[in-house]
């Protein structure tokens, strides 16, 4: 079974700070990491390989540093990694999808392609679906479990008000949720070995696809939610309860 996983190097948003004066997000000093849900996608790929055999290829579009997440993918157990080096500058999801689809065609055929349900910084939930469409294959979104039976994939889709069990003929692209598994931690020796492994790199500008973005970011502004930050601590429970209730009554959010 040939399996591909699309992995994004995303901004670690939990560490993102704003400039206190301008509210400009301080993106350049914020660390990057493997988008959380893509780690689940990779874990699922490894589990499918462990059960059905085959090979796992990790692919990422990004700047030079995106190699780091591919090294991490190899350390977790991916067999191969392909880096599409973004040598163009800011591109939108349309261009990223075009590039991923092109590489998947070039290096394929893959029976299963896995993505995260959405990336943790941009959260648009579109790249996986777009890639499937470009490849002309079925797409199953929001999968919280996957099983393979013969030529078919069966997955449970986690929707707002229901769980849908769906099936599709392979090749299929599947986007997964966080709940599908708990990703393994790479072992030290694997990390060391991955550091030495060469990673195949292609330049984005060299791909014969539509490289013109359809969307352009004009600005990004931080939002400040001001909370009062009143601490109620080191009080006997009785007193702490009174303290809270008095405050909530004063705020007018609970009735006397």
């Amino acid at each position: 079974m040939e399996i591909a996983v699309c992995i994004k190097q995303a901004l670690d948003v939990s560490q993102l700070k704003m400039d206190p004066k301008t509210l400009e997000p301080l993106i350049h000093v914020t660390p990057m990491k493997m988008s959380d849900i893509d780690r689940n996608a990779l874990e699922e790929a490894l589990r499918i390989r462990e059960k059905h055999g085959g090979k796992v290829t990790a692919i990422s579009v990004g700047g030079d540093k995106a190699k780091e997440v591919l090294r991490e993918a190899i350390a977790m157990g991916a067999d191969d990694a392909i880096h599409i080096l973004n040598d163009i500058g800011e591109v939108d999801e349309h261009v990223i999808s075009e590039a991923l689809a092109e590489i998947l065609k070039m290096k394929g055929p893959f029976q299963i392609i896995l993505c995260g349900e959405m990336s943790i910084d941009k959260y648009t939930a579109q790249v996986g679906v777009r890639v499937a469409e470009k490849l002309g294959i079925p797409c199953i979104t929001y999968a919280r479990s996957i099983s393979i039976e013969g030529e078919e994939v069966i997955a449970e889709r986690d929707l707002e008000d229901r769980i849908e069990m769906v099936k599709a003929k392979m090749p299929t692209l599947i986007t997964v949720t966080r709940e599908i598994n708990t990703p393994r931690l790479p072992q030290l020796i694997a990390i060391l070995r991955a550091a030495k492994k060469p990673i195949e790199t292609l330049n984005l500008s060299q791909l014969k696809v539509d490289l013109k973005s359809k969307l352009k970011t004009l600005s990004v502004k931080g939002i400040e939610v001001k909370r009062k930050g009143v601490l109620i601590k080191d009080l006997p429970v009785d007193k702490a309860v009174d303290e809270l209730l008095n405050n909530l009554i004063r705020e007018g959010v609970i009735k006397r």
Partner: protein, 308 residues
Amino acid sequence: MHVTIFSENPEALIEISTKLRETLPSNLKIYGITKVEVRSPGDYGIDKLHIIKDLRNIYEAEAIIEKVAKESYSKLIILESNKNNREIAARIAAKLNAGYIADCIDLKLDADGSIIASRMIYASKAIETIKSISDVTVMTMPRRITEPKAQWKVGCEIVYEDPPKVEAKTTIIDVKRKELSAIPLEAAEVIVSVGRGFKRKEDCKMAEELAKILGGVTACSRPIAADLKWFNEWIGLSGHKVSPKLYIAIGISGAIQHLAGIQGAKIVVAINKDAEAPMIKSADYGVVADLYEFIPKLIEKLKSTSTK
């Protein structure tokens, strides 16, 4: 400008059409697509409404949206934001080589006539403003971005259609319904929210009792619903975004993805035994206490004051 909008839910449809009438120029023509009757759609600014009563799946929805958008020369296609519609929107965008702006919360036209939209990014820590340089732009829009207003009185033509015949690439083999909150969480005035600080499902009864006394509802963090399945609906970036008068987070650590769902809350209370938990720091009132001691006492006090 011509716009095609789709939602199975008429409430969402008239919210989106209201938003468009409020923000875009008057030479607007709105083509709506939905599943059920809409009361006086023209009053909400919808010029033509396609009603497809037995729309069966996402592939049929996609086909009808594409057809209406094409026939009406729509430059903008907007779907109500939910999981299935986000998939449909992305696929339509891929087919048209178009830009897709997910979860757009505001929009306007630039001087040159192109669409400018904003959306939350970085776990709702920031707002991104995007300009579309796409021939056609696809969008999804969440609920409650505006109040529906019946004030436009355009004459609306209504057509009933059968769903288009299309081949589905995936087949649904089983559906399990989730049990949802009686009132939508978005409309709740008081929410008592449960996190992994609760050790057992039975312990959540405390939270339910507290919610009842306060005239509110219960909700939870994502792992309580998605992993443990004690509840069905969670609050946060990937769940409900709520704006109650009072939000009480009990045994919730306050991960950024959780906080992203409660930005609209008036007063936030955190109860956590860890003074360093981000939830305590992001609250109006942060109570550092063991929930197993604090909540029963809180309930007891509230009961005794309300019967006084």
